[in-house]
Every structure is written in C-alpha cells, then in structure tokens.
C-alpha cells in the first residue's frame, strides 16, 4: 500500500458558510442612522446580529450594491428576487435554507431555525 500523497502542507481551510445570512434591501447603512430618522427595526436587527455573534455564530449581511455576487451566487435568492423584486427583501437564510422572506425575522425565529437545522 502506498502512502497517501500529501498535496498541501496545510489543508485548505474548510469553506465554512455563514450560519445566518441576511440579504438586505438597498439602504444607506445597516443601523438606519444614515437617513433623517432612526429606524427602530434596523436597530433590532443590529442587536440580534450582535447577540448571535456573541454566541459564536457567523452572521453575514449583503446589500445588492456592495455584494452583488452574494446574491448572484444563491440561486434560490435570485429566483425570489426576480419573481417578487423588492418585496422579496430582506431574505434571511439559516445554514443555507431560506427561513424568512420580505421582513426581518425576530431573534426567536432565527434561534429556532438554528436549533431545528443543527439538531
């Protein structure tokens, strides 16, 4: 038996996808502070993300104008976007599965999805 050939000194880092991905509608900034008024919904979302991150989860947010490739790389997301256009956004994806379309989820919903999927 031949020994396995090592191709890499260091194995390539596993492409760990984000636990939670949020495909945002177009906006100036994620906390809603760029506009003339504060959007409390955006603040809730921001807090949810921070809380998930505190638990060691990886959360990514994408906007069309900065991360068009993240949209283009997800066939299901693009299907929704082409079909429902703006009304599809925001889209929340938990470990590759779309869990919420058109509104932001509450933290409980995301946690439930995380538990359900990882169980």
């Amino acid at each position: 038996m031949t020994e396995p050939v090592t191709l890499f000194d260091v194995p390539p880092a596993p492409q760990k996808t984000a636990d939670v991905e949020i495909f945002d509608p177009p906006m100036c900034c994620p906390t809603g502070l760029c506009g003339p008024t504060l959007d409390q919904t955006m603040l809730d979302v921001n807090e949810m993300i921070l809380s998930l991150q505190t638990d060691g989860l990886r959360v990514e947010r994408y906007q069309i104008n900065s991360h068009p490739n993240a949209f283009l790389g997800n066939t299901e997301v693009m299907e929704l976007v082409r079909e429902k256009e703006m009304e599809a956004l925001p889209i929340t994806v938990v470990r590759g599965i779309i869990v919420k379309v058109g509104t932001y989820p509450a933290q409980d919903e995301v946690r439930a999805a995380l538990n359900g999927v990882s169980a």
């Binding site: 945002d24 509608p25 177009p26 906006m27 100036c28 900034c29 994620p30 906390t31 809603g32 502070l33 760029c34 506009g35 003339p36 008024t37 504060l38 959007d39 409390q40 919904t41 955006m42 603040l43 921001n46 807090e47 921070l50 809380s51 505190t54 947010r61 906007q63 069309i64 104008n65 900065s66 991360h67 068009p68 490739n69 949209f71 283009l72 976007v81 082409r82 256009e85 703006m86 956004l89 058109g102 509104t103 932001y104």
Partner: protein, 626 residues
C-alpha cells in the same frame, strides 16, 4: 515629479484669477500645466473666455495649458455608473431603479466629488500623460477645509468600519477599500512640502486675516505645510487721489502691518486693477505685474465708452414688501458666493427689521461664518439676544457642534430604549461618518425655521454651491424616505413625521409670501454669473429669486480720478447686466471707507438702503446710491 499647487481663500478675493495667472505663466515657461477646479460654482470658463466643462480641455492660445471643471453632478453620475454596472446587468429593472435612487442621496454627491478630486492627485498613472504642474482652484475656505479634511476622516472611517460593523455612511467597506489607498496617497501628496504648495489669497481686511489664520491652522492639524500668501486688491498709488479710495488705502495699510506681524509665511502682493481680469492676454499682463513687478497700466474702461443709463431704483415699498413679514412669518435667505458681502447684507437687513419691531432671528450654517464679527457681539451655538438691539437674536449653527449634539441625542435615545451597549457602539461608529455634519446642520436649521416665536428668520447661508446642496437636501431626503419604506415593513411613523417636516420646509422655501431669496453679488462678471447660475439651479427645485443686492457699489458722486472713474464705469456696465439677468428689485450697498462692523454702522447703512421707518430721509454719513 509633478508639482501640486492649491489655491485657497475666501471666495471673491481673486483666487481663480491668481490660480489662472500662475497656470498661464507656467505654461508659457514651457511646463505642461493643468488647472482643475473643484468649486461647485466654478468660473474658470469665464476667466479663460472659453467652454471647459467636466473633462480635460486644452486652452486656446496657451500651448501646454489644460483645464477642467469638476462638475459635482456629473462626478456623482460617473461614480454611480461605476458602482451600478454589475447590478444593472443582473437585477430586475425596478430594483436597479431603487438602488440608483438610493445612491443619489447627499452622501454620494460629497463622496463622488471628492473621489474625482483625488483622481487628479494620481494623474500620471491615470492616463499616461504627465503634467509638470497641477493647479487646484479649490472651493471657498469653509468648504475647502471640509474637503481637505475628508481624507483623514475617511481613512479613520474605513479603519473603524473594517473593525466594526463593516459599514459606513459612505458605503460598505468592500466598496471603498480600493479607495483607501487613493485617499491615503492624496493626503501624503498634500503633506509633502516638496510636492505640494498651498497659496492663500486674501484681501487686507480684518475678517480675511482671521479666516486665513484659522484655515491654515486647520490644515496644519492635518500635517499640511508649505503655505504662502498672496495679498490681493491693494489700492495702487494712482488710486489714492480719491478720498474714498484713499481712506480704504489707509485701512489697508494697517491690515498689511497686521499681516506682516501675525502671519509668518512667504507673502506676495497684487494690486487692485482699474478693470477686471478676463482673457489670456489680461492674465499675461497680470503675470507681468505679479511675477516681474512691472508697472503695467491696464486700459481704462472709462475712456471712449458711452455711459450706461442707470435705471430708476425700485420703490422702497416694493423692496420692503420683500423683506417684511406678510401675515406669515418671513424667512429671508441670503445666497451668493463667499466674500460678496452676504453676511453684511444679512446683518443689515436683520438689524433694520428688528428696529421695525419684528422679532428677528439671524442664523448661519456657514462653517466660515462671521456674524459675530459684523454684529460686533458674540454669537454662539445657542440662540442669544444681541445686546443693544431689541428684537434681534442670532445663532451660529456650527456643523461640527451640531453633529455632536445630534449624535448625543440619538445615542441617549437608544440608551433610553434599553439598547445594548455593544449596539450603541456600532451606532456611534456610524455616526462618526462625515455625512452626519451636513445632516445635523440642516436638521438644526429646520428646528429654528419652524419655531413659532419668530416673525422673521434671516438665513446667512453658506457659499453658493454648498448652499444649493444644503437646500436641495429636503428634496433628496423625502426621496430617500420613499425608498426607505422598503427597508422596514412596519410603516415607520417617524419617517412619516420627518417627511411631513421636510415637505413643509420645501413648501415654505417655494412660497414667495413666506420666503425671499436674495442673491448678493458685486458688480463684476464672475459674481453675477455665479449668482445667476445658482438662481437657475434653485429654480429647478421651485425656488425663485425675490431680490438681488449689489455690494461695494462706488457712489456716482465719488468718481473724481481716472482710476475710480474706470472702476465705476465697469460697475455701471455690470449693474445693467444684473438688472437684465434678474427681473427683481435690485438693492445697492455702497462701497464704504471701512469695513461694516457694529450695530451703529449697520443701523445707518440699513436706513440708507431700506429707508427710515418714520421720516423719509435722515442725514446719513453714507452717500445714498439712489
């Protein structure tokens, strides 16, 4: 190595003219020279007497010389196009449109203009062409400072953003990461004294000295060095035979001494010419005077020219109808390029109205404001009564201070709502972006403009280009809110309230019974054209000029020497042009022997202009122009 020269100073001091004189001189010496303006109200085309526009254009009659006017609107469009290309290709049309609307916000315009500006600091590698000298005819002081401060602030914003939420107001980090190198390079070029040189052009006047000192110290804080001064508008010996000009020359000589004493930089002087500076040949003549110290007499405008008939002045009642409240509160906006006397016009008008018994608030958002200097009474960030003048209050909206207050309010509100400290930190980062200042200053203006206790609000606005952007903000913002509806599904009542608030401000600005836009200028080609362009642009948002004010008008009875006659003849020609371009009442403010300062002088000047409330005329030490 390319040499970069920046011209700075208050608008109207001859900055563009001195920048052009340098550019023509370098080109004539065989150097490949490029002159770029970042002033939203550019006048390069007027000085060179040819179309220039938003692209590098060869100047006819001067081989080696090229010019470009950075058009903020077009720069914005180019920036948007670049960012939108991948999106247009892949997304449905409706979404493309929404994203485009979003990118048309006020932040993008500021970013785009600056982005284009930094491109020119990187020219050789840009298009392969090499310039020996690149000259920037920058925007007036307050705006220039902000523009030049941006690279430092942005590098900071970008650093912070990559550690924090990954976003800034400017746009997501990923999108500006490429730009970071560019901005750092821009700053390093500006800091290198062997590559960059900063000229400050100023008139020998108290306010100009103070402003120059302040502007230089702001730049020194950014580790910029290599400053030089050009003291312009010095009355030549042949001008001093006239009593008015002789008095002004005396005033100048005191200020020249003060400049020698207080501003320890290399200084050059430039004389006031009998006629204005326009065209290549004229610029070469100015070059001879400035660089070679030649005594060149420019042709006198008075000789052999027919006198322009001066139309009858507007009736005093007509003028008063434009400034006095009419049932509603009246808001007066004084617009015009910095240095034309906007602050003086605002103060004179506010003092006159207060003396008529109207409760009057005088305010400014100009970072280079000097209300306190003209009133000779302290003016701060809080509304305060002006001592010695009942019914008059004043406030200086400092955009930096307004931004701090705004930030504190938003963060306190978030804490009160029980937001997590970590979330508040993210908010704080976002609020440190440069756009917050613009937004906060405007927010404060709306606060004051909608207070019920004032019968008159007098707004000494920032210089033209800046003003326009500021005044267009409400329109932009209500558009932003239309777009933002998508972001949150809960119909945000806060947004509705805000939208209504902006709607009211727009309505107020468009209604001539509530608001008057007064364009201030002096009777010379460039300021008239700038005011006219600004007025045209305001018309596109439904705002129309209500009156115009010509400042520094030489009284007709004063023209005793050929020098003064020549300048008066030039002014008459331009007063006629003002009437032609602006079919609204024209108010003339006389050229005075000294600077306008203090309530007594403002009161007298106000009565010369608007008449005395009680008696028809009173003895005034100012010569009436009508």
């Amino acid at each position: 190595m390319t040499h970069y020269i920046f011209f700075s100073g208050k608008g109207g001091v001859g900055k563009t003219c001195m920048a052009c004189t340098h550019a023509v001189r370098y080109a004539d010496e065989g150097k490949r020279a490029l002159i770029v303006t970042t002033d939203p109200a550019s006048n390069l085309a007027d000085v060179f007497e040819q179309e220039i526009g938003h692209h590098v254009t060869p100047i006819a009659g001067v081989p080696n010389l090229f010019a470009m006017e950075i058009d903020p609107d077009q720069a914005t469009q180019e920036y948007i196009d670049r960012a939108m290309a991948p999106i247009r290709a892949a997304f449905p049309a409706q979404m493309v449109q929404v994203i485009e609307e979003q990118m048309s916000g006020p932040c993008t315009a500021e970013v785009a203009a600056f982005d284009r500006f930094t491109d020119f600091l990187d020219l050789p590698s840009q298009d392969g062409s090499n310039y020996d000298v690149v000259i920037f005819d920058t925007a007036p002081t307050g705006h220039t400072i902000r523009l030049l401060e941006l690279p430092a602030e942005w590098s900071l914003s970008i650093d912070k953003a990559s550690q924090g939420s990954g976003q800034t107001c400017i746009g997501p980090t990923a999108a500006i990461q490429d730009a970071k190198h560019k901005y750092e390079h821009a700053l390093s070029v500006m800091r290198d004294g062997t590559q960059a040189q900063f000229f400050f052009v100023l008139h020998p006047e108290a306010i100009a000295i103070r402003e120059t000192r302040r502007a230089i110290s702001e730049l020194e804080k950014l580790s910029i060095q290599n400053f030089q001064l050009i003291i312009n508008g010095i009355i030549p010996p042949e001008g001093t035979q006239d009593p008015l000009f002789s008095a002004r020359a005396e005033m100048q000589s005191d200020y020249l001494t003060q400049i020698e004493r207080e501003l320890a930089f290399t200084k050059q002087r430039m004389t006031l010419l009998a006629s204005e500076i326009k065209g290549i040949e004229c610029l070469r003549t100015v070059g001879k005077i400035f660089f070679d110290g030649e005594q060149v007499l420019t042709e006198s405008e008075a000789s052999g020219k027919k006198t322009v008939s001066v139309a009858s002045p507007p009736s005093i009642d007509d003028v008063r109808a434009h400034i006095q409240p009419n049932g509603n509160r009246r808001t007066l906006f004084f617009a015009g390029k910095g240095g034309v006397g906007k602050t003086v016009a605002s103060c004179v008008t506010a003092v006159w109205l207060a003396r008529q018994g109207y409760k009057t608030l005088l305010l400014t958002t100009d970072p280079a404001a000097h209300l306190g200097d003209v009133l000779d009474s302290p003016v701060g960030d809080d509304v305060s009564a002006i001592g010695g003048q009942p019914n008059l209050w004043a406030v200086n909206i400092d955009p930096k201070a307004a931004a701090e207050t705004y930030k504190a309010r938003i963060l306190a509100d978030a804490r009160q709502r029980g937001r997590l400290e970590s979330a508040i930190k993210v908010m704080e980062e976002e609020l440190n972006s440069p756009c917050t200042e613009e937004m906060a200053a405007f927010d404060k203006f709306i606060d004051y403009a909608s207070q019920d206790e004032w019968q008159v609000v007098v707004f000494d606005t920032a210089p033209t280009g800046h003003t326009l952007r500021l005044l267009e903000l409400p329109v932009d913002w209500s558009r932003q809110i239309d777009v933002k509806v998508f972001a949150s599904v809960d119909a945000s009542t806060a947004d509705d309230v805000a939208k209504q608030r902006f709607g009211q401000v727009i309505e107020m600005m468009c209604d001539p019974s509530q608001s008057t836009f007064a364009f201030v200028m002096y009777p010379e080609s460039t300021p008239i054209l700038e005011a006219w362009r600004a007025a045209k642009e305001l018309e596109t948002v439904g705002v129309h000029a209500g009156m115009v004010m010509a400042n520094f008008v030489i009284p007709p009875g004063q023209t005793t020497t050929p020098f003064v006659q020549s300048r008066r003849a030039m002014q008459e020609k331009y007063l006629a042009e003002i009437r032609e371009r602006f079919p609204v009442p024209l108010i003339q403010i006389p050229l005075l022997a000294t600077e306008v300062k203090g309530l007594e002088m403002l009161t007298e000047l106000g009565e010369t202009i608007y008449g005395n409330g009680q008696t028809a005329s009173m003895t005034s030490r100012f010569t009436s122009l009508t």
